[in-house]
């Protein structure tokens, strides 16, 4: 298992020959409060050569569980949220898959990442053997309402993973604008 730092990348398939499916799991803890609190939602977005979402259907989150061709599925299990990616079945025109976690934009005190601790994304194989782990650096995240945790991207016929940890102050709206999603 390799720990990653922001900006680093790992040759996922080159270092794990035969890797066909990968589990991308997210976790965090939230400082509890009596009032409305931030609710984090992971979302994975399939992007084309231009870096934009292939379509609004090519994303998964808790209420849209699979992409049309079925190579990416939202599942829930041991971590807070998990997404399965069948690397071999991902459409050829998908160049990268972005993994975003956003604070649900509820109008009643939506919150931000300021109350979020110990956030991470980890990748595992079909036997749940952990391959990579990226712990989001702690810091003042009071202005952050969505975060790009990392990306899976094609490289030399295989797949690599890049740890990012880039925050969006404009939350899901900013994510939608960056990937040209109609949410």
């Amino acid at each position: 298992m390799a720990s990653m730092i922001p900006g680093s990348n790992a040759a996922l398939t080159a270092e794990n020959p035969g890797l066909r499916k990968v589990l991308v799991a997210f976790g965090w803890t939230i400082t509890q409060s009596l009032g409305p609190q931030a609710e984090l939602v992971p979302m994975a977005i399939m992007c084309g050569q231009d870096g934009l979402a292939l379509s609004d259907d090519h994303l998964v989150f808790f209420n849209q569980l699979a992409t049309p061709e079925g190579s990416m599925e939202f599942v829930g299990a041991d971590d807070q949220e998990q997404i399965d990616v069948d690397l071999a079945a991902v459409p050829e025109d998908v160049r990268k898959i972005a993994f975003v976690v956003y604070v649900d934009p509820d109008l009643r005190g939506p919150g931000n990442f300021g109350a979020v601790k110990n956030a991470y994304v980890r990748l595992a194989d079909e036997t749940h053997r952990e391959l990579l782990r990226f712990d989001i650096p702690s810091g003042n995240q009071m202005q952050v309402k969505a975060m790009l945790f990392g990306e899976l991207y094609r490289h030399s016929g295989g797949w690599k993973f890049r740890a990012i940890g880039q925050g969006y102050q404009n939350g899901l709206a900013g994510v939608a604008a960056d990937y040209k999603l109609a949410l």
Binding site: G35, P36, Q37, N63, Q64, D106, R108, L172, A182, L183
Partner: protein, 262 residues
């Protein structure tokens, strides 16, 4: 009566026709999910509509007769011809077509239904502005109601983020879409002004408050799988309790009363 000649009732969203799988060669392959039907017309069938006529003896109704062998129905013992189990079919794959939220600006008696997509149904807050009251039911059949003045009945449905699943907020009724999977249905009773429904991303539509013959709007929202469907219904003027009853809402009795026990 020819059941196969019946067509779906687009105005009754909580009923759907179930087709028993058959073992005929033209049926779906085992494990294959049937494609969504797209050939269903929204225009009501001439033969549809509720009838209060007494059914004829040979038509419908429950029968205690033993099913004939070979029909393949439940309890026939005809296991040899029974098809293998089909993969679960998501309810949303069998829905009749309906306009999307941004396809129309206003719901009315003539255009009563829109259906949200999965993103619209699961992000942020669905707000209904202009309602005098709301009543809801969650997946545990917990039912409650609240009016714009903050008076409540039944039981609230809390969510993990310390927000109620349905409640009034700053004069508008709000549905917590992060927990839409806990939502079953709700009604929003209009006042004299149009109801305005808004979603994340500023999309909005209005609901005509009255019909020419004086009936008042009630917005009915139901969840079908991961999709929310909005339907404008029009009812005779009545108090909230009568409207709840008309839509089948029975308030859950609160159990957190102070009994004096320690």
């Amino acid at each position: 009566m020819d059941h196969h000649a019946r067509r779906p009732r687009p105005d009754i969203t909580y009923l759907s026709r179930r087709i028993r799988p058959t073992s005929t060669p033209t049926g779906p392959e085992p494990g294959r999910i049937p494609a969504a039907r797209t050939d269903v017309s929204l225009s009501p069938a001439p033969s549809s509509g509720l009838s209060l006529e007494r059914p004829t003896a040979s038509s419908v109704g429950l029968s205690l007769e033993r099913p004939r062998a070979g029909t393949g129905g439940p309890g026939t013992g005809d296991r040899g011809s029974r098809p293998t189990l089909l993969a679960p079919v998501r309810d949303s794959a069998r829905l009749f077509s309906a306009p999307g939220f941004t396809d129309t600006r206003q719901l009315s008696e003539d255009a009563p239904i829109v259906r949200l997509n999965a993103r619209q149904s699961g992000i942020g807050t669905l707000l209904v502005h202009g309602a005098r009251s709301t009543a809801w039911e969650d997946i545990d059949q917990v039912t409650g109601a609240e009016n714009v003045h903050g008076e409540t009945a039944g039981v609230a449905s809390p969510t993990a983020g310390n927000r109620k699943l349905v409640a009034f907020h700053d004069g508008s009724a709000a549905v917590t879409l992060r927990h839409v999977q806990r939502f079953r249905r709700a009604i929003f009773i209009a006042q004299d002004e149009p109801l305005v429904v808004s979603l994340f991303g500023e999309a909005a539509l209005a609901v005509s408050p009255k019909t020419p013959d004086g009936k008042s709007a009630v917005l009915y929202i139901s969840r079908i799988d991961s999709l929310l469907e909005l339907r404008a219904d029009y009812v005779e003027a009545a108090d909230d309790q009568a409207i709840w009853a008309g839509f089948g809402f029975t308030m859950t009795t609160p159990t957190h009363v102070h009994t004096g026990r320690r």
